[in-house]
Amino acid sequence: MESLQPISGPWALIAMSLKVTIIFGVLVLVVAYSTLAERRVSAWIQDRRGPNRVGPFGLLQPVADGIKNLLKEETLPATASKAFFVLAPIFVLVPSLMTFAVIPIAAPLPTPAGIVDMIIADVPIGILYVLAFSSLAVYGVVLGGWASNNKYAFLGGLRASAQMVSYEVALGLSLITVLMMSGNVTLTEVVWQQQQLGMWFAFPLSLAFILFVISAFAETNRLPFDMPEAESELVTGYHTEYSAMKFSAFMISEFGHMVTASALMATLFLGGWDLPGTWDDAFWHEGQLIRGFTQDGVIVLANPAWWKTVLTFGGFAIKTSFFMLLYIWIRWTLPRFRYDQVMALGWKVMLPTALAYAMLIGGTILVLDEVGIRWGFSYGLALTAVSGVATVGFIFFLDRGRTIIGAAGQSRQKISITGISQPATAGD
């Protein structure tokens, strides 16, 4: 008989060590293979095939890259600030891999010794921890740019600081709606409330979802927001002077940030490990693993099983991969923003929209609670309607008020050739 109690005693220690080892190992593996995925997908988008020489389908390419980067010469610019130059890649790498600790990856796993939560650290400050550690990465970028004593690297570092600080505001504000909905900052509770609502937050909070995705792109310095790197302007920006494994550390951290941001988007807006239906729902409520409540508020106990853990982990992996693909897809489609456009979008569009939307959702939640609608599917539908209107309005605004004719086609009719001196005719 498997107990429905959380795992405790020495078994908890073993389970925790195993979880840390496995999740960290898998995360690093996923990061390594996302570099390959980026190269393959970029190749496919450009009608090429991509690296397929090392191992079957090129699957050993990350290993080859790792060996190459380990064996290459580490350069240290003579004028660089040596201590900070060496520290910067570490400052970038560590936060990008640490953030994953608070993200729940699957339904709780029952073992003979008790139930194991599929999360490394179910800390009560979940989202705040994520925000704190993702902000720490900017120090490494700025430090790397400054310590290189190179004007391009320095400009890259400056841009990174301005950009990441700007978009953090919109990121945090779009998260406020999620926190209002879930009533807590732990990510397990965010997943639980989505299960209880019967729909994922991407629908009732559609505008926050869009804003969060855009801000997350800016936070991870990916195209179209890769101002800190901007290879056509700044060589490669803040890591211009870095080589070999230190450069590799910057690349690993970029992909680590991508994986973490993808997992976070999946958790906050696509239900995390939740799959459609209530069969997999599970949450610790007053010491019991519950599946939900009946109409009268009676607890329904959850029925964890190993296959549910496996299936929900599969769901989580698919959702995360979807966002990874989105990252890569957008990178190889869109050109880079100009720097002032990045700032204008961040401060003049994202920030006011996120603020207004937070107030709108707050007001809607207040009204729904006053009316007395239960937290459930109809609650979600009402919020979906409100958010849908807000999202359509936002897109209408971004599209400069047009919905039918292409923007360029319409303005072509408007522009008349003026200010060009016509050849003088006889009448003049």
Binding site: R49, I330, R400, G406, A408, S411
Partner: protein, 166 residues
Amino acid sequence: MAISVKVMNRPEPEDTSYLRAALSGMALTFRHLVNPSKVTQQYPEEPTDLSPRWRGTHRMEVHADGRPKCVACGLCPTVCPANCIRLVGGEDDQGNRYPIVYEIDEFRCIFCGMCQEVCPVEAIHVGQHFENAEYTRSRFVYDLDRLMEQDHPTTLLWDPSDPSSE
């Protein structure tokens, strides 16, 4: 002097929608992403198509009895602009001239194909072949036996009356 100015009829930034262009771009890249036809040639596995006029590794034509067709007339070393052909001619009992030494340094060769053009007996040819990597430099000097062993197709000479080879 007349300076012509081409006015690009670009929409004003205030009138353009980044969103719309971005979405159509995403659709375009997605079509290419899922499109299975790729332009990359998987070279070592898939043999590459060479033009019939591709000028590569030389070969020496042989008679049915295995003798080289070369008559050691000396025209090819004379015409060779890179001076890469070494020819020492000899004469047998019947008075037929034949090459005692015939060497081509493939490193010096510029693959102009003039040796093939000038040859009166169509003995030396440049060929449709390029995979001649070796481990030592000395292996790139092809002697007569090695030239006679080559079995790749020979190059089609350019015909001035049919410039596009039709």
